[in-house]
């Protein structure tokens, strides 16, 4: 490659006079051009996403506290943090179940409810469908932070609408009930929040898939005497398998790393140790207790779990399609 490699395209003068060297240098430039175009993106991703990933792994091998932050000195202890995490009952009894069971519940809820809504949307006329899709977009567009605050307010222990309704109905006594202190009710509210925010994506994606299934398939199945459930199970599901795979795995990835929806809830920022998930646990250890090495190790465990899911995702994405 010649010196033109270093020439940025923006500085190349348009309509430069033709010369004998032009052909070969043009070819070299063309070969280098994609890398010149990619350079800024690769630099940003490398410095701000990949390097931190390496760094968080290195931090996870250290006993890194506030003193190290100030002095910048490293303090390697091998796999000590990991040994501590994996022998800690807190991981197995609290943080991991809170992460995994919550993810299963939210992904299940999101995909089932989203699919039901998509099936409903398909039966509507074009105008009604557009109106309903626009409305469910409102749930998707609600930022996680403000959406979470609205759900907390709905379930507010003293003056929330649920409390007032239950008291008026005589179900709840004057003392009320704090559903944020109990692990199960805490995560029930978080699940409601995440399903509400996540189902529009599933509904709209599955709807787009449903509209590509040829009507003839359903007609043929109906002629063969299949009822609605059989038509869904034997025609829709096999045809839309890739769509279901994508929405399920993407939802799993998103729901595994839920942070604000738990952190912002009462007690979710560390004061109620029963309700932390892996992400919040890592954050609280790092920034609450200044144990950056320990927090990093928890974060690495979370990242590896997500990476495993991502590999499954990429497999299902590329099984029948080459990147083009």
């Amino acid at each position: 490659m010649s010196g033109t490699v270093l020439t940025r395209p923006a500085t190349t003068v348009a309509g430069r006079p033709p010369s004998r060297r032009r052909r070969s240098s043009a070819r070299a430039r063309r070969r280098a051009l994609p890398w010149v175009l990619l350079a800024p993106a690769l630099l940003v991703i490398g410095v701000l996403l990949l390097y931190p990933l390496i760094r968080v792994f290195l931090l996870s091998l250290q006993d890194y506290g506030l003193r190290n932050v100030v002095s910048g000195q490293s303090n390697y202890i091998g796999l000590g943090n990991y040994a501590e995490i994996f022998t800690d009952a807190y991981l197995w009894q609290v943080a991991l179940p809170n992460t995994a069971v919550f993810a299963v519940a939210t992904v299940g809820g999101t995909v089932v409810f989203g699919t039901l809504v998509a099936l409903l949307l398909r039966t509507l006329g074009p105008v009604a469908r557009t109106v309903v899709v626009s409305c469910i977009m409102v749930a998707w567009a609600m930022p996680a932070v403000t959406g979470t605050y609205v759900w907390i307010w709905i379930f507010d222990v003293d003056r929330g609408i649920v409390r007032e309704a239950l008291t008026a109905a005589g179900v709840l006594g004057p003392d009320g009930f704090n559903w944020f202190t109990e692990r199960l009710t805490f995560y029930a509210i978080a699940t409601l929040n995440v399903v509400h925010h996540g189902f529009p994506f599933v509904a709209v994606t599955v709807l787009a898939g449903l509209l590509t299934v040829p009507r003839e398939l359903y007609e043929a199945a109906a002629l063969d005497g299949a009822n609605a459930w059989q038509r869904f199970w034997h025609v829709t599901v096999p045809t839309l398998r890739p769509v279901f795979a994508v929405v399920t795995i993407l939802s799993t990835i998103w729901d595994f790393k839920v942070f604000a929806q738990v952190y912002l809830m009462p007690g979710g920022a560390g004061s109620n140790v029963d309700v932390l998930n892996l992400g919040v646990w890592s954050y609280v250890r790092s920034f609450g207790r200044q144990e950056y090495g320990m927090g990093s190790a928890i974060a690495v465990v979370l990242t590896l779990m997500l990476l495993a899911i991502t590999v499954v995702y990429l497999r299902s994405l590329f099984r029948d399609e080459e990147l083009s």
């Binding site: 410095v47 390097y51 309903v132 609600m142 649920v162 787009a208 890592s282 990093s296 979370l302 994405l317």
Partner: protein, 271 residues
């Protein structure tokens, strides 16, 4: 017929009620005079703008709005430019490691922010850029970039190659072709991508909370927390502020939803 139509109507009503209730409740709590209790917010009797006045004028939310806007605009400008160049590279050229680059772009999107926040905090701290809007913006550019590249790649690939070749035949150089032919054709995609970068920066919480610990540097997502007292919460103010944060996102979202859905489904459904 009428019974199934009735059932369908009831199902649609149920879905809409569940979907819209939080947004309705947020608006009513913010605008109603009795918004400090659940019932007062659900069925308002009189409306007021007092909560908004308090939030914007007395609680300093204008500062947070300004901070968020600056950060989001820098993010949009930076990520759109960088992503467009990269998208052209992966959509228009065949080169070694191209698939590797694409897979990397996909994979980095899965990395949880909880893992990045610790090293990024140390990195930004070392550069003395904590509590600076530019420091936060630069990190947001990186966050918005992979998705922007992925989305723009589809838009660039959709431009027929013949259009480019025609420009070359007319004697245009590559930069000239890029500027006068490709750029206008992918402009709609660029707008959609820009809006997504804007929403990413506007909504982000964990990094903003970690990097910004001076009150005058808060972004809107972090600024909301100040209405929470130890024992009581000023819910009408929280809801008024939430309304202010949510509205631009909703407007943008309705604007780009079509492009988003088709872009996401592209990988899944093959027509």
């Amino acid at each position: 017929m009428s019974r199934s139509a009735l059932g369908k109507g009831a199902a649609v009503a149920g879905v809409l009620a569940f979907t819209l209730f939080p947004a309705y409740f947020m608006l009513m709590s913010a605008f109603s005079e009795g918004g400090a209790t659940g019932t007062g917010a659900l069925l308002p009797t009189s409306f007021t703008l007092e909560h908004f006045r308090y939030v914007l004028v007395e609680a300093g939310f204008l500062t947070y709005l300004r901070n968020s806007l600056i950060v989001a605009l820098i993010t949009v400008a930076g990520s759109s430019l960088v992503a467009l160049l990269a998208a052209v590279a992966v959509a228009r050229f065949r080169f070694r490691l191209r698939t590797t680059v694409l897979i990397m772009v996909l994979v980095v999107q899965m990395v949880p922010l909880e893992a990045l926040v610790i090293p990024l905090f140390l990195q930004v701290r070392d550069l003395q850029m904590l509590n600076t809007l530019i420091g936060l913006s630069i990190v947001y550019i990186a966050l918005a970039l992979p998705f922007a590249v992925w989305m723009l790649r589809g838009f660039v690939a959709a431009v027929p190659k013949e259009v480019e070749e025609a420009a070359y035949i007319d004697g245009a150089s590559w930069p000239r072709m890029f500027w006068s032919v490709l750029l206008p054709l992918v402009a709609p995609g660029l707008v959609a991508t820009a809006i997504f970068s804007f929403i990413t920066a506007w909504n982000e919480f964990i990094l903003a909370m970690t990097f910004m610990n001076q009150g005058d540097k808060y972004t809107v997502a972090v600024g909301l927390r100040q209405f929470f007292g130890q024992y009581t919460t000023d819910w009408p103010s929280v809801m008024a502020a939430s309304t202010i944060i949510t509205l631009p996102v909703m407007v943008f979202f309705l604007f780009v939803q079509r492009g988003l859905v088709s872009g996401l489904v592209q990988g899944a459904v093959k027509g």
